[in-house]
Amino acid sequence: MTDALIGQRVPKLDAPSKAAGKTIYGHDVRLPSMLHGRILYSRYAHAKIIRMDTSRAEKLRGVKCVLTPKDNPPHRFGYGKDNKPFKDIARSLRDEIAGVVATDADIAEEALSLIEVDYELLPNIFSPREALSEGALLIHPEHKSNLFQRYNYSHGDLAQGESESAVVVEEKFLLPYVSHVCMETSVVVAQFDHRDHLTLWSTTQIPFLLQRDLSEALGIPGSNVRIIQTAVGGAFGRGLDIYPYEPIAALMSRKTGQPVRVAFSREEEFLAGPARQPAEVTVRAGAKADGTLTFRDASCMLDIGAYVSWGTVTPLVMMETTASLYQVPHARFTADCVYTNNLITGAMRGYGNPQSTFFIETLMDRLAEALKMDPVNFRIMNANVPNSETPQGLVITSCGLKECLEAVAASADSARMNVYPERSRRNEGGRLVLSEVEGMTVTANIKPSPFNLQPPHIKRGIGFASTLNVGGGARIYRSDGCGATVKVDDFGHVTLVTGSTEIGQGSETALAQIVAQTLGVKIENITVLNSDTDIKPWDVGVHASRTTFIAGNAAYLAAVDARNQIFETAAQLLGVGVDQLSASAGQVTVRDEAGKSISLEQVARRRHFKEGGKVILGEGWYDPPTQLVDKDTYKGNISAAYGFGAQMAEVEVDIETGKVRVLRLACANDVGHAINPMAVEGQIEGGAQMGLGYALTEELIVKDGKVLNPDLLDYRLFTSADMPIIETRIIETDDPGGPFGAKGVGEMGGTPTAAAIANAIYDAVGVRMTQLPMTPERVLAALDEKEKRARV
């Protein structure tokens, strides 16, 4: 098949309607007689509700009803089965204790202030260490310990690794709370119909798991729950769990008999939404004198907050980076996930990987420095290689890590010109030739660097970091599958119904390209339906950068099935064998017989409109050949393919203010094969934006369980004005298991960014930043510390 649809830069199919403001998001859903619900959160981080008087709230004009813990169904829900819609014991400041339904949201809000609550205060536990100390009050007494889970992984022999090391480095890291900050805040509309069936309009990423979760939370059969996904205004992992507001909206609808909408304010989104887990990490690593890695040992303490979510599984990914990014003969990883009275935490893009890549790649830089080796060469010599298996059991098929590093090293050559002009710049007749970089000559028409004009307080540096990410699904549920159907109608129009979800990542477009390519039709002839659990086949959800690989394979299988049906009929009509046929440009043509063809729509009609006619309906189910990790050793091949990437950051540090400006971020990613290079670039650039924020500006500042900066002024996202030049390089390795060779890329864009920037800061000013974000204040404090040490 030589049509160029695969690999073509196809603008996202959903983009025009979004750009024109015509897309229907969750916040746009309005149903007849719809009511509005608001939630009352606890005033204290840990307290028993001993009295609640809702009578004044109920009397307010426009209020339909007030819900309290008495309205809870008897079941618990959530990943750890530790949550209820309304709490009679609040375990954090975001605990829902009551809800009001009213004819508009302002009335509901006003009614919340009329609910009288008496609390009995309980001791607060805001630090995981305190939570684990002996005799600490149990946050969930039924759980018997505040330690929800301990991950304990190892391979090889750490002592042997250490004894073989010529250099050993160790560092402590502090990682902050950060928020997804989706443009669209959390929103849900719930409606019970006359059959007592629930329909939920939702921004979830896991419609089928949510169906199950809701049926458990509400005590109704899963077959009575239908999830309709609206266009999603950002998810980034936020939609990976059930949250109390969802069953609350359902309870509100059931109690009033009317549809109820619950929509978060921006402040509520920061306070009550899930955050990325803060962590304290200690890491050691070693290498031989020749640069070969010997061992890694990381131990993490994660504050998971008052309730468990799928975010508690993120150590699995942190473990993967520790054990398998580069070739590591001996490794150990431990992580404690600890209950506290802090914010709830959840899954967020990268799922532990931005955290672990920050600490692992910082240590890689320290090792290279200790060995006096070039940081890129050191990484390349230890890089993962194709067709190998890591000691952890990851089966690496395609692998372009070395190529990614080489690509960003080439970008670094032009950056070096800015950083060390005296070393690498030579002007030859207006063209700049960079000749000092070993084995490489890069020419570029670049204006002479203004480096010499830089004031002395500005220092420049460059830094590198790599990433390893699952790229062929991730089996963290018993199935990692996805179903798809492909229908061809009698106009030759093709409808793909896929279990997977479009959350802005461009999957709709990539899947349409795969189906269009397989059936030989134009992309305009494809409609993708992916938003209704009553219509679409099962899928585990959008996570782990799995959609292109998993849903892509499912769509491909369904398209092949449909094509077989088309060929079966076409072969009869044309009087040739099925194996002589091919499909392109909306036609089924006979190979080697010019002019002998029949249009797709004609085939469809001829197949339909006859006695014993048949529908052209292909189906595909793809579940990758992977394993759940062993529950004791955590070993196993969790993904059918692995994606790789590397980044180079060029920064400027103001040594008087500590302010870091990123001038350029070069990103190279091994994506197997880019189905849609434009969408791949979009994912990498978007990921980089999140990575830059994680590195430099974003932090939910939490004190005594309370968020001190729940707004977009003091929670600082990187804006377009702050963005550096992003260079993206797509490295293609054609994975044998991926659809048309593709692997996932969704999460990788921001994973190595913080590490690359931290390493660049070190290159510029000689301080190791071990706490994120690397704010001007922290950088200046580190510079002060360095100066103090130099004076001693």
């Binding site: 203010t657 003091d714 804006t719």
Partner: protein, 281 residues
């Protein structure tokens, strides 16, 4: 949002009459970029909102080489960044306004709002004070002028009396060079951790008059007279400049909050004052 009375006067007299009738108990709205947020967040619950956007007397923008600049309270930040008059005669005001918020907000937010809101970090206050600006306040019965340096009395508070409006700001003809430097973690769309305005007028190689005004390090914009005095009459060597910067840092006692620790703010005062003086040379 609760309901409130809304007035849209067409003249200054009408506006002041309404204000007088309400005994000053009306929230003034122009751009609305501060007030609406506070209403939405239930920080204020106004009984009445007085929309002054249609009052022509608040729209002055003129320059006279003797009298200086008259700039009306309704002048938007965008006007300040774009006006050729401002850009030519008081470039520091154009650049300070350009550092604020976003293009969208700058086209709504006004000079009067930025000053009357009296945030300690208001970006227009330090450069205007450094330029010896005067605030012109009007009420139904009187009109008075006070130096802008005396306008602010605390966070969110000013000398404005009940029934009074800020009509315009008068800025004397420019003397010497003025610079405003703002330190914030992000390049744009951010609030000042520290702001520092410096005006230096030199004659015969010596500093004749100096102004150092700081933002975001005290309850009100802070004029550092001791720092100014250390410069006046001196040849501005790097040692003299460093000394003035140091004095400025020592004379303020900023708070620690989510935006910055106090020690860091003091350090930034020192850096910004030094760089500000250097920028005027």
């Amino acid at each position: 949002m609760n309901s409130f009375d809304h007035f849209t006067p067409a003249t200054l007299t009408e506006a002041l009459s309404i204000l007088a009738e309400r005994n000053g108990n009306a929230s003034i709205i122009a751009g609305g970029t501060d007030l609406l947020l506070r209403v939405k967040n239930h920080i204020v619950k106004p009984a009445a909102v007085l929309n002054v956007k249609r009052v022509p007397e608040l729209r002055a923008l003129s320059f006279d080489s003797n009298e200086g600049l008259r700039v009306g309270a309704l002048t938007t930040l965008r006007d300040l960044t774009r006006s050729p008059l401002i850009r030519d005669c008081y470039p520091v005001l154009a650049s300070a306004a350009g550092l604020m918020a976003s293009e969208q907000i700058r086209s709504l937010a006004t000079l009067g709002g930025n000053l009357c809101n009296a945030s300690p970090s208001a970006d227009l206050a330090p450069p205007l004070i450094a330029l010896d600006a005067v605030a012109c306040l009007v009420s139904l019965s009187s009109e008075r002028q006070i130096p802008l340096a005396e306008f602010f009395t605390g966070p969110g508070r000013s000398v404005l009396q009940k029934g009074e409006l800020l009509k315009e700001i008068i800025v004397p003809p420019p003397q010497g060079k003025t610079a405003y430097l703002k330190h914030s973690p992000r390049a744009f769309m951010d609030i000042a951790i520290v702001g520092a305005a410096v005006r230096i007028q030199q004659q015969g190689g010596k500093c004749q008059q100096a102004r150092i005004v700081l933002g975001a390090v005290a309850p009100t914009p802070l004029r550092v007279r001791s720092g100014e005095e250390s410069l006046e009459g001196q040849t501005l060597t790097s040692e003299v400049i460093r000394q003035a910067a140091k004095i400025s840092a020592e004379s303020c006692s900023p708070i620690s909050d989510v935006r910055s620790a106090a020690w860091y703010r003091k350090r930034m005062v020192e850096v910004l004052v030094r760089r500000g003086i250097e920028a005027t040379l």
